[in-house]
Amino acid sequence: MTPETPSGRQRPPISQEIRALGGARVFRGKRVLDVGAGAGRFALALAKVAAETLAIEPDPGAVAMARAAAREAGLSRVRFRVGHAEELREAGYDLALFSWSLC
């Protein structure tokens, strides 16, 4: 799947979490909304398997880091936006992900 992103010592490698959730097949070909995406740990990992990923995150610094990581990895099917879940106006996504963000 993807490059692992720096995630702090309290979080495991993203590949480990994706496996625990059922593997890449859960996300393959899907339009994914990543809510509270942080620095893009999950969104960057999904960028090679999901059809499209929109990641929203209120912290502009985290979004800047995520965008830089996506550019560096040459990932084109993921977009990052500064914002809150409550401001969402998009529709038509297959899966909305709250990864360590609904707490």
Binding site: E17, L88, D94, A96, F98, W100
Partner: protein, 150 residues
């Protein structure tokens, strides 16, 4: 949290999924030590009151949408992840700095020179968007209540 979940639900197609993944504060994390090529129990780490309160609030938000028949649980569970590997002093330091942990209880007889790590419980739920007349009514009621300051 409820508003974030409602907004996310509106953004997915009927039958689409909301996936909620987060550390569980209901189960204590475990301190483990590397012994004979295996991780063995070496203590436990209590969740902070703040972490437990936030988890209860998140659980309540999910329950509200399930109760209103806007979402239904299709799969849920818990998995454990190994984090913060290092010497005991380093693990202690990270735990002390974390707002989610309240304290570390190290079992007797542990080897301070060993390699340690923390096993954290992560809970997840796949929630399917439900669309039916009753559910739509519930959503309208929710919006009305919020617009009244509810």
């Amino acid at each position: 949290m409820v508003d974030a979940l409602r907004a996310a639900r509106r953004s997915i197609v009927p039958g689409g999924l909301v996936l909620d993944v987060r550390p569980s504060a209901r189960l204590d994390a475990r301190l483990v030590a590397r012994r004979r090529a295996r991780w063995a129990p070496a203590g436990r780490i209590r969740s902070s009151a703040n972490a437990r309160a936030r988890d209860r609030a998140a659980d309540a938000a999910v329950r509200e949408l399930v109760r209103d028949r806007l979402l239904r649980v299709v799969r849920k569970g818990t998995y454990w992840v190994l984090v913060i590997p290092g010497p005991l002093a380093s693990v202690r330091e990270t735990i002390a700095e974390s707002g989610r942990f309240a304290g570390l209880v190290v079992a007797r007889g542990t080897d301070p020179g060993a390699r340690y790590a923390v096993m954290r419980p992560i809970q997840y739920a796949f929630l399917e968007r439900v669309d039916q007349a009753g559910a739509r009514g519930a959503e309208v009621r929710g919006r009305t209540a919020r617009s009244r300051g509810g």
